[in-house]
């Protein structure tokens, strides 16, 4: 176990290095410049331009820029081109909101995916199974930005429900409970829209996994013992079918963070996705470099944790 973790951490470090190099060059080699003024703006004196370039190391060769960016990231001195604040602060203040949103979205995806998948598997081959399958594909095919726009605009038009941001602004909350309720309400809609696709994908996995388990020898044994269908299904098959869900969690993370770019933009939700979107618009290289690095690190960590969890729930899996 310990050697497995150490080996995985080493591999992850190498991967993370590769990712940081590739993302750095994707960001910096593309045409265009990060200057907050037009390249040919005559009102900016050459001295100011030079000072700006020097400050953000834009006058150095690329490999040196990479090294300085990484050094700055790890020592916390890397600052954003946009507002000159340390990028770690900018990311740090957005991180809790993103984590809340994604954790809730994952919980919703898993719960409803499980229910839908188990229901479909229990009725495999019948009309309800067909309908849930179609429903799953309906969920996957719904464009998230379209649904959220319809929801936002519908709510604005027909109710006065507050839906943008993380909480209702300009309100004094009498106590913590009402603040939390308000925050939860702001979180619930984006999380629900974000998990639509996840519910569908998880339900398909669960269904496939259940049907595979039902073909196992021990299920035949249980049936031969004379156990009822429901006992076999819910007690024997279900427990062994939900294990693949755990590995699925690691894979859900990058998709959720990517998907939340659009959802966070629509719901004006201050998370990492929107920070990234703004940084792309502003060509804020340091923020983009740091963001790519931290997100990749989170994903690698998520993968490691889900592998470890998998070994814990399934003793047959040997980590080597």
């Amino acid at each position: 176990m310990v050697t497995f973790i150490i080996r995985r951490l080493l591999i992850s470090t190498v991967l993370l290095f590769l990712i940081s190099v590739v993302s750095f060059f994707i960001i910096t080699l593309t045409p265009g410049s990060p200057y907050p003024w037009g390249e040919l703006n005559p009102k900016i004196s050459p001295q100011v331009k030079e000072a700006f370039k020097k400050k953000f190391h834009l006058d150095r060769p690329l490999y040196e820029q990479y090294w300085l960016n990484m050094k700055g990231l790890f020592s916390g001195t890397l600052t954003s081109i946009k507002d000159d604040r340390p990028v770690l602060d900018r990311i740090g203040e957005r991180l809790p909101a993103t984590v809340r949103l994604n954790v809730l979205a994952i919980v919703i995806s898993l719960t409803f995916g499980l229910l839908l998948g188990v229901y479909a598997a229990r009725h495999a081959g019948t009309l309800p199974d067909l309908l849930t399958s179609i429903l799953a594909f309906v969920f996957i095919a719904l464009p998230g930005f379209w649904v959220s726009n319809l929801i936002v605009i519908g709510l604005v038009k027909f109710t006065d429900a507050p839906i943008l941001g993380t909480q209702t602004y300009g309100t004094d909350f009498p106590n913590l409970v009402s603040l939390w309720l308000d925050q939860f309400w702001h979180l619930a809609l984006p999380a629900m829209v974000l998990s639509i696709g996840g519910i569908a994908v998880q339900s398909r996995y669960i269904r496939a996994s259940m049907l595979e388990t039902l073909r196992e020898d021990y299920i035949r044994t249980a049936r031969a013992k004379g156990l009822g269908d429901d006992v076999i299904f819910y007690k024997h098959a279900l427990r062994n079918s939900i294990r693949p869900l755990i590995t699925g969690i690691g894979g859900l993370l990058p998709a959720l963070i990517g998907g939340s770019v659009i959802i966070e933009t629509i719901f004006a939700y201050p998370g990492l996705g929107r920070l990234g979107y703004e940084a792309v618009l502003e060509r804020d290289y340091p923020t983009l470099v740091a963001l790519n690095f931290i997100v990749a690190a989170l994903v690698l960590l998520g993968n490691l944790i889900s592998d470890l969890l998998y070994a814990v729930v399934d003793p047959r899996v040997r980590l080597e």
Partner: protein
């Protein structure tokens, strides 16, 4: 003894027995047939409007003709799906946008399929350190949040239709590569591949003539399912303003332009969204029906 008898080629497997039986099973699946029919219809519409646009022939109106006197008209007999804030006919723009969506879908999948099949085949067939290196690269790519990566690249390189297609293709091949690799890992140990190798066939011939045709079914299914993924990604990019640029209509940018006026003009968002949804759903359902048809074939073996 003369030259070795030719082993069954791609054509032989595709036109006889199992392939045809899969197709027959597919025809018995009403959901799959309906979905495939809608896909066919979309394809036809896209083809006709695409060719028409080349010759300046539009139906029912010119999609880019503005008429401020007619702006934001609700759906009526003259404009079936209403008009937008510049008085452009929404139905014409939807039809005109259809070939953009399908082109992006098909070509992006062609790009990702070529890379995915090549990497997966080499990785699965050769194994060893080549396999190790290629699969670690796949792992690294999977760590990026895909949509964000696409957005960054498109935003920085400039949102032209070619950039969008190539970038979507370049980031979405990892799933295909893993799938093809898994198929190759099993198939390369099979009797007929060993036989081909014993007969002195070279690796490229074995890969392309013997293994690949037998891995065709899952690859086709991935391709069909990849098309709506690409269509949805393009629509999302268009929505954020990084898709194919106006005045060219796409399903995503009609929604993006229309969201400002939505409180007065629901038709600007509802219809293009429905178009994306119906197109994506039909591809997914058709792909799933194909998968079922192909799978029951292998189960019976």
């Amino acid at each position: 003894m003369t030259a070795a008898p030719p082993l069954p080629s791609r054509n032989a497997t595709a036109s006889s027995g199992p392939g045809r039986r899969s197709l027959a099973r597919f025809r018995k699946n009403p959901v799959g047939v309906t979905a495939a029919a809608i896909v066919g219809l979309l394809f036809l519409v896209a083809l006709v409007t695409g060719i028409g646009a080349c010759f300046g022939v539009y139906f029912p109106y010119d999609p880019n003709a503005t008429n401020l006197a007619q702006k934001l008209r609700a759906p009526d007999a003259a404009h079936w799906l209403g008009t937008d804030n510049l008085g452009r006919d929404v139905l014409s723009r939807l039809l005109n946008g259809s070939y953009i969506s399908l082109t992006v879908g098909f070509i992006a999948v062609a790009v990702s399929l070529s890379i995915g099949v090549a990497v997966g085949a080499v990785s699965g067939y050769l194994g060893g350190w080549v396999d190790n290196v290629l699969m670690r690269i796949v792992d690294a790519i999977l760590c990026f949040p895909t949509f964000f990566l696409i957005l960054t690249a498109v935003a920085l390189l400039g949102p032209s239709i070619i950039n969008i297609i190539v970038i979507i293709g370049l980031v979405s091949w990892t799933g295909t590569a893993r799938l093809v690799r898994a198929e190759f890992l099993t198939l390369r140990e099979s009797e007929y591949v060993r036989a081909a190798r014993t007969l002195g066939q070279r690796s490229p011939a074995i890969i392309f003539r013997h293994i690949l045709p037998n891995a065709a079914a899952p690859i086709i299914v991935t391709a069909v399912i990849g098309i709506p993924d690409a269509i949805l990604t393009e629509a999302g990019l268009s929505f954020l303003g990084f898709g194919v640029q106006p005045p060219q209509a796409t399903w995503g940018n009609i929604i993006s332009d229309g969201k400002t006026y939505f409180l007065d003009a629901w038709w600007l968002i509802v219809f293009p969204g429905l178009a994306i949804f119906v197109a994506a759903l039909s591809f997914y359902l058709a792909g799933d029906a194909l998968r079922q048809a192909a799978e029951s074939r292998s189960e019976r073996k």
